[in-house]
């Protein structure tokens, strides 16, 4: 059995070496390290302002699941670099992540994270626990700390359906890692302050997935209203926010048609009351 491993260096195939770990990132680190982002690079000048930045992501739980939504704008300084960027990614069948900060770093991280979760699932024949998934993402964020200090900051928001609790769970992070589990709802990115304020007034316990999707679209609109880096729904180009729902049936991204239905409903109401729904005072 051992002889095929004792071949000259060029002929060995380390794909079949048992590394004892089910982590894809660890395997790539030893097999083809050049594929991983170089976390320890030192940039001559910080380039944070010159690369596109992704902005606002919101997430909220509902009865039996969680909804995540993101606007579609990416900015480089004062320039809108992309109007239809996608910032909410399916991680596996029961979880998703949204990214804020440097778009390229975030997209790469989401791609690696998806493979990481799937790799474990296939190697071990079971899915990671929700806490396990959240912790793994924290390690990846911490690995990016060196680049974050040079301006390439990326901060994700992680949401998953937990079958043990039959409920949605939300985790947030900072540049050095995390995770911080959030109760009910959370927002990240430049418009997050405004979105969180909006969610505080609009969130209802035990709402349906349908109502919660509407709530998040309202919150994103409020964020776009006050934050120049967050994009509102683009009615003329028909670019709508991305809304993803995760419940016991798994992950599903709402179609453009469904989202445009929510948006039109909201815009119609805002023609009468531009600041959106008014929360009762008492």
């Amino acid at each position: 059995m051992a002889s095929h491993r004792d071949l000259p260096a060029g002929l060995t195939n380390r794909l079949f070496d048992n590394t004892g770990s089910s982590s894809f990132t660890e395997f790539v680190g030893s097999y083809a390290p050049a594929l991983l982002p170089h976390r320890d690079e030192v940039l001559a000048t910080p380039i944070g302002d010159q690369v596109p930045h992704a902005t606002t992501i919101v997430a909220a739980t509902f009865a039996g699941g969680v909804v995540m939504a993101g606007d579609r704008r990416a900015t480089s300084g004062n320039v809108i670099s992309q109007r239809d960027v996608e910032k909410v990614f399916r991680a596996d069948d029961y979880s998703c992540m949204g990214i804020a900060g440097t778009a390229s770093t975030g997209i790469e991280m989401a791609r690696l994270y998806r493979v990481e979760l799937e790799h474990y699932e296939k190697m071990e024949g079971r899915t990671l626990s929700v806490a396990g998934k959240a912790n793994r993402l924290a390690t990846m964020i911490r690995g990016n700390l060196g680049m974050a200090m040079q301006g390439l900051v990326v901060v994700p928001l992680f949401a998953a359906y937990d079958p043990d609790r039959d409920a949605g769970r939300i985790f947030s992070y900072d540049v050095a890692g995390g995770p911080y589990e959030r109760d009910r709802f959370d927002a990240i990115g430049s418009g997050s302050i405004f979105a969180r304020g909006s969610l505080k007034k609009l969130y209802r316990d035990g709402a349906s997935a349908d109502d919660m999707a509407m709530t998040l679209i309202q919150a994103l609109y409020d964020a776009a209203d006050d934050d120049s880096a967050t994009g509102g729904p683009d009615v003329t180009r028909k670019i709508w926010p991305i809304v993803s729902v995760i419940d016991a049936d798994g992950f599903r991204r709402l179609s453009d048609q469904q989202v445009s239905g929510y948006v039109e409903q909201m815009l119609e109401a805002r023609l009468i009351s531009p600041v959106g729904p008014i929360a009762p005072l008492r």
């Binding site: 059995m1 095929h4 195939n13 395997f27 790539v28 069948d93 790799h119 296939k122 024949g125």
Partner: protein, 268 residues
Amino acid sequence: MSMPFGYASPEQIMRDKADYARKGIARGRSVVVLQYADGILFVAPNPSRALHKISEIYDRIGFAAVGRYNEFEELRLGGIRYADINGYTYDRSDVTGRGLANLYASNLGRIFTESIKSLEVEVVVAEVGDTPDGDAIYRLTFDGSVFDEHGFAAMGGQAEAVATRLKERYREAMSLAEALEVALAALTEPGGERPPVSQLEVAVLDRNREHRKFLRLTGPRLERLISATPAASAPEAPEAPTAPEAGSGEKPPPTGPDGDFDDGSSPL
């Protein structure tokens, strides 16, 4: 010129290795892989809940194996690493069943020629396409030979007898329930008893699924599928008398993969 003590000709060594491997593979139960209308079906009688014979490799690629568990498990893990690293380097659509079959073939072939003991495994790599024309089933034997199977493949145990029964019953574009019925009939000896649902490992590569096509069928879902077959018990009786005649004589059951294997007799 005297022979050194303990000399064995290369032909003899290869023959011994092949015999050894074939005996090991024939000891286990058979596994059946076949095409149906919406994709590819894997069926394996397997009493263990923990040690799988069928597994997902990538979005469109499934894996089934017979023989020694620790040996094919190593192949399976290596295949997952291969698929994930290629999908991450390029794009998810750039991982193909053909590439994986070639990797396995070279690895199996190298171990067969260079190690004292060859691997006692036989493997199927199946890939589901967007249409039935895009489906592929590759069967790999312990010596690294690759067979591009059309429609169905059987391996392990009494592989040849199972393949014969499978060939008799297989039709193109069957429904999932029909295909499962065909697989179970092929896995059951004439007049024998079918394995209970709790001892079946069943999975599909369903081309209509999003993202990942691989899905294990277990529990109530599998029971419903099996009982949904109109011919679940009916064809058993009429077929039993015809089957012994197909057996033709008292020839001992074949014990290994059919097709050519390298017995050292070829000069190439």
